[in-house]
């Protein structure tokens, strides 16, 4: 959250005069200005026109004038439903349930927590937390994968089936899919607890738990690649890559005589299925076919 704050403020139009002067003198400023200006070449109104109200009116179905009858049963039901509604609201405000946010295949979303922390969920992931208790205890459960940008404050806990992550104020990514648990720290310090292990990660460090083995490595990225539309892997079993493809594209993939454990290093984009399949199959000399109902089959290439 601390890096690039001038850039952030500029994008928010919240720079002070002095800050603006400094920012405008920076080397990158002309480039940034150009990027923003050039966005207008893609403006919607150049290519798509909204019809006016008159043409909408043509499409509206005829409305019948209803004959209103006074019905006493209806009134009794109305009064009863007000009571039920009142009770439901009362219940809701007294016993506030937990908030659950989930994403479907091919979907990502960003949410803001009550303390201004931000969570971005990757596809097919879910977080659950109690908004009411948040000020006293920042703890949520995660299924799947999410990137966290945590506001400074008291302890913040992310709990998954295979391990938990504890931080103060920082940026990190947690991935828990099937048997695997992986945490990458981008800023600050995080503490990872899993089974008998407790490990501390600093910025640029990555921790992976596969079955019972804990592996440490480095990560040079500034943030998770999936947040920029790419899934990347370092020596990941092929089956994990395939599963992530299924999640991003909402397709079913059948492996035909192909090894599930071959290690894959590389990535695929989220917006072009054929491109993604090529990225994943070419390194192993495999071929793929897509059937009409979005069923993908990957098999050994015939020579």
């Amino acid at each position: 959250m601390e890096q690039n704050s001038l850039l952030e403020k500029w994008l928010n139009n919240s720079l002070s005069e002095a800050e603006m002067e400094t920012f405008q003198k920076s080397e990158e400023y002309p480039f940034y200005q150009k990027l923003i200006a050039d966005a207008s070449t893609f403006k919607a109104s150049h290519f798509s026109q909204l019809s006016n109200f008159e043409s909408l009116k043509q499409r509206l179905p005829e409305k019948e004038v209803p004959v209103r009858k006074l019905n006493s049963t209806r009134w009794v039901l109305r009064i009863a439903s007000v009571f039920v509604l009142g009770f439901a609201l009362f219940y809701f405000f007294q016993f506030k349930p937990e908030i659950k946010i989930e994403t479907l295949a091919g979907q990502k979303t960003t949410v803001e927590l009550p303390d201004a922390s931000l969570v971005t969920l990757n596809a097919m992931s879910e977080i659950t937390y109690s908004a009411k208790k948040w000020n006293k205890n920042r703890s949520l459960t995660l299924k799947g994968e999410a990137f966290f940008d945590v506001a400074k404050g008291a302890k913040f806990d992310v709990i998954t089936d295979k391990g938990s992550v504890s931080v103060l104020g920082t940026e990190f990514n947690v991935r828990q899919r099937e048997e695997n648990f992986e945490v990458i720290c981008f800023e600050g310090v995080v503490k990872v607890i899993s089974g008998n292990f407790t490990e501390e990660l600093r910025a640029g460090e990555r921790l992976r738990l596969h079955k019972s083995e804990l592996i440490r490595s480095k990560s040079a990225m500034e943030g998770p690649q999936w947040n920029s539309g790419v899934s990347d892997f370092i020596e990941s079993p092929f089956i994990e890559v395939i599963k992530e493809l299924e999640r991003q594209y909402n397709v079913e993939i059948i492996l035909n005589g192909v090894s599930r454990d071959s290690l894959f290093t590389g990535g695929f984009v989220h917006n072009d299925l054929e491109n993604a399949l090529r990225s994943v199959t070419e390194p192993f000399g495999l071929s793929f076919s897509i059937s009409e109902n979005q069923l993908v089959t990957i098999s050994k290439r015939e020579n």
């Binding site: 990027l35 919607a44 150049h46 798509s48």
Partner: protein, 174 residues
């Protein structure tokens, strides 16, 4: 403005008022999120027709939410992961004396890359960025349109810009 909350959508004046308030924004939102091929104008009209058909059941204050939900569902029923490629239209340059073929080709490459990068952004990032920087909508306005907080909007715009500057770094004149 509390009288508005009880207004009857089935009355033509009220319905027209809703159209004037929300149609353009809904159209632009659909365009930036799903691209031209989803037929944003058609879908916007269809959403309003649906609103009219359900005018007795929808509260005035909930009309905007209804429209966005209906429009989104209609588009999602059609598309299955088509790449969102937004078209670009460059301003015709006034002074052509500086334009040698090399410059023109580089410019073409730049805009092609810009187009690809926009396609690479998540829907959320692209919509927030375009609505703010191209349509001039304030962060708070966008937040209300999308049903999220202002901070989330700021974050999506920031994320989008980071991807753009990284992908287009090579076109920077150093």
């Amino acid at each position: 403005m509390t009288e508005e909350l009880n207004q009857d959508i089935c009355k033509e004046d009220t319905f027209k008022h809703l159209y004037d308030s929300h149609a353009t924004e809904l159209h632009n939102y659909l365009y930036y999120k799903f691209g031209e091929s989803c037929n944003p104008n058609d879908k916007t009209q269809d959403a309003f027709v649906k609103l009219w058909e359900n005018c007795k059941k929808v509260l005035f204050s909930k009309a905007r939410g209804f429209l966005y939900k209906v429009a989104n569902n209609m588009v999602l029923n059609d598309l299955k992961h088509r790449k969102v490629v937004l078209r670009y239209q460059k301003e015709k340059p006034v002074d052509r004396t500086n334009e040698n073929p090399e410059f023109l080709m580089e410019e073409e490459q730049y805009f092609k890359k810009y187009q690809q990068t926009l396609a690479k952004l998540s829907e959320e990032q692209r919509v927030a960025f375009m609505l703010n920087k191209v349509e001039g909508k304030k962060h708070e306005e966008i937040a209300q349109q999308l049903g999220v907080t202002r901070k989330v909007v700021e974050y999506r715009i920031y994320s989008a810009f980071k991807v753009l500057k990284e992908e287009l770094e090579n076109f920077r004149i150093k």
